[in-house]
Amino acid sequence: MPDLRELATAALEAAREGEAVEAYAQEGRKTEVSALRGEVEGITTAASRGVGVRVIEDERLGYAWVADPSPDEVRDAVRQARDNAALAEPDPANGLPQPESFEPIPELFREESAKVTADDKVRMALDLEAYTVSRDPRVTKIDIAQVGDSVSSVHIASTSGVDAGFSRTDAWGVVVTLATDGDETQTGFSYRITRGLDELDSHPLGDEAVDRGVRMLGAAKPPTAKVPVILDQFAAMSFLGVLSATVNAENVLKGRSLFADRVGEAIGSDLFTLVDDGRILDGPGASPFDDEGVPSGRTELFRAGMLQGFLHDTYTARRAGDGQRSTGNASRGYRSAPGVGTTNFYVEAGETSIEELLARAEGGVLIQDVSGVHSGANPISGEFSIGATGLRITGGALAEPLREMTIASTIPEMLLGITGVGDDLRFFSSVGTPSILIGEMTLAGV
């Protein structure tokens, strides 16, 4: 079986004079085990690989991809991509990046994770479920209890001289509990990511998912009011998806971001700093280089409330001109063309403890879950209207649960309204955020 580098370089052999060709070869193995009612619910094991090819000729760009190809099929894909390019419009911004040296991140591959056997994973999933349903009489069932891990590798080769690859390991655990009391059921969610399953301590997952479900039992709809609001890490995370769309240079260049033309302006509270950093290991989104081979780095999007810039890949940087360089944010799989994506995208931690945030939000609400952000928030206008559940804050502590609330505001209004940022930064997948206090928001209820 040809290795990834052989597959990627096969594409270059098919390049014609004057053509720029790039191949992105990827492979991975994955195992997932889920448990239900004290038994294994399912074990999924997977092996996949594929190659995506880009061809640029006369400023025209075409793509083609193929699953598990032979070197000959990769060369065929180059011909396909060439035919596709012939139908595309010329765009002077099309181009491949020049090779740059990068610092490897050996920590991304955790040798120890390979020592976790399939039997170990089964035991871990069963233990996670058994532990979770043993914590509280109101939680006797789970919706999901799952652990999984993967090993994956990438190799990129291009006619401009990129020839680089790396491997990584990832592992995760997830639990969704069903907390019941009479006719009422509430769900509680928890999720954690590590480099290897040998590092995953699953009991805190179970505890958190139990607590988050149980504490919502008896939730009622509150009266409409303007109150201080704390977005906990789960709820704040939901907003980062919308924020990532607004700082994506592709959206900015095409008039689809409310932040276009506003670099250098104070938009948010001076407590708000938003960063994308492809080299920190706290989040799982780290890599030595992006999916075009451009070295990863740190990009500040907001510093103390002021908009600093946007996330770029090679295309958007060339299109923006003005000396703009790719920020190392090209993102793709072998089936898709590269676009701008985030790496580790997070709100920088503040210095305030959660206790102090709670004390400062007296009479307000801690939001633990928001829904409809992907459909209810408009990255172009910045307006959003979403559903929320959470808990009343009384005497500096969490009190009665609340449901069926709606929050309507705008992204800039919310960023400006931040009056406290917690010291409890936590990553979920590759996005991270601490708890965030917003001085006042309208929560619509009854």
């Binding site: 399912g42 996949s48 699953a67 509430q186 008039g255 829904s371 209810g376 408009n378 206008s381 709606t406």
Partner: protein, 461 residues
């Protein structure tokens, strides 16, 4: 796609530790996608994906392994990996594989693969021209064209052998309209399991103009009111709500895990007696249609509600065998890399006897929802939320100003009870539904219907 003897050998290998059944799913999917943005064809991508998944099950426990290699060694390895989940040591049998013939639910008159890419690019240019020609306020247009042909082979140890091809086509227009600092978007993207003849019915021009009209209309929008009020859902929009809020809790995995508000409710009144609802995978060329589901079970029309009384859940093979009922043919998967789970197909509320005109005229105050932007539901609690991408105020029995930033929030049971009028103008909406990390193309449909009271979240007074 694969030799019958080889598939039988793989099935036997997968049953080396017994189990209730073993199954092989083989897929090859060729696809084309073209994106026009900012007046330019930006991406023209063609791809070929292929792979096989082997599943072994006992009770609701399963082992699943996939690979995108289709040679004998790789398939036998997958069979070995899948069977490792089982503890037994008595091999199971494999019945002779016999073809099950389908009806041809999704016939393509003109295969997309026979159409040159240049023609497809031409459709996107029509979208761009038509949207920009619609109004000088149209400032940005994205057109996305996609087609695919998915060839499937499903074989199982009980002797089933199913081969079915599924053609898909979709043309989407996303339009941005701008007036001074006010920016609004409009979106329309019909789709079907069909060939390119689909675009005779939904022409690129008509698709573009509908999206442009939506964007331009929203320029006049006022912030949506907040609070409890009456909502009239236009044709198709009610189907989306029905899919999310009611359909998901009826999927048998949610029922099995006790994570559904409908557990134990078959035969009970669960909604207004005006509600007749079905899940129907047999609709010719429907976005969620097929002859056979991804477990090789024949598709069917399943009645979910009759006059508001719950009739059935939606089953895949594992959950059906556990409950001792026949599968309803709802075992679907997002390709060879995913084990099947119970999913909806085309989920529809059927026509009632009111007319949309009467229904609006008899509504004093509320919102009229033309298009929902998507939403989510917690099947365990029934709580849902939906964004309204195009909506209007109803004032004094008339549809008046467009509203923006509205969403609908509620509980499945409450809104099903609250439907107090159903019209006779059924229409559909095609979407892609996400569940357990798997995507599935689904159709939703409904006539105009009215919910007497629902919470509207909005930014206005």
């Amino acid at each position: 796609m694969l030799d019958r003897d080889l598939v039988a050998e793989v099935l036997r290998a997968a049953r080396r530790r017994g189990g209730a059944f073993a199954e092989v799913y083989v897929e090859e999917r060729s696809s084309t996608s073209i994106r026009l943005d900012d007046g330019k064809v930006e991406e023209l991508t063609t791809g070929v994906d292929r792979g096989a998944g082997v599943r072994v099950a006992v009770g609701t426990t399963y082992g699943y392994a996939y690979s995108n290699r289709l040679d004998r060694d790789s398939l036998l390895q997958a069979a070995e990996a899948a069977s490792a989940a089982l503890a037994g040591d008595a091999p199971g049998s494999v019945v002779d594989l016999t073809t099950r013939e389908g009806h041809g639910t999704n016939r393509a008159e003109r295969q997309a693969s026979d159409v040159p890419a240049a023609t497809k690019v031409g459709w996107l240019r029509e979208v761009d021209d038509a949207a920009r020609g619609f109004s000088p306020e149209v400032s940005q247009v994205v057109g996305v064209y996609g087609d695919s042909l998915q060839r499937r082979l499903i074989a199982a140890s009980d002797g089933r052998w199913v081969e079915e091809d599924r053609p898909r086509i979709r043309l989407v227009a996303q339009v941005v309209a701008r007036r001074d600092g006010n920016i609004q978007t409009g979106h329309y993207g019909p789709a079907a399991c069909a060939g390119v003849e689909f675009l005779d019915r939904f022409t690129p021009r008509a698709i573009a103009e509908k999206a442009a009209d939506r964007a331009v209309t929203m320029l006049d929008s006022v912030p949506a009111p907040a609070g409890e009020m009456t909502a009239v859902l236009g044709p198709g929009a009610g189907g989306v709500l029905f899919h999310e809020a009611v359909g998901h809790p009826l999927e048998a995995d949610a029922i099995d895990k006790d994570a559904s508000v409908y557990v134990g409710m078959i035969g009970e009144r669960c909604g207004s007696e005006l509600i007749d609802g079905v899940d129907d995978a047999t609709i010719p060329n429907g976005w969620g249609s097929y002859d056979f589901d991804d477990e090789g079970e024949a598709s069917q029309r399943t009645v979910l509600f009759e006059k508001g009384v719950l009739q059935s859940f939606l089953y895949d093979r594992l959950r059906a065998e556990k409950d001792g009922v026949p599968s309803t043919g709802n075992g679907r998967r997002d390709g060879y890399s995913s084990p099947p789970i119970p999913r909806m197909t085309n989920t529809n509320i059927l026509n009632g006897s009111s007319t949309p005109e009467d229904l609006i005229a008899s509504t004093e105050r509320g919102v009229y929802v033309v298009n929902l932007g998507g939403g989510q539901v917690n099947p365990a609690s029934g709580d849902f939320v939906f964004g309204v991408s195009l909506g209007f105020l109803i004032e004094g029995g008339e549809v008046t100003k467009p509203v923006r930033g509205a969403n609908l929030i509620g509980r499945a049971m409450d809104i099903m009870q609250g439907v107090d009028a159903v019209a006779d103008d059924f229409d559909t909406w095609e979407g892609v539904c996400g569940k357990d990390g798997q995507s599935a193309p689904v159709g939703s449909g409904s006539p105009t219907l009215r919910i007497s009271k629902i919470t509207v979240g909005g930014t206005g007074a």
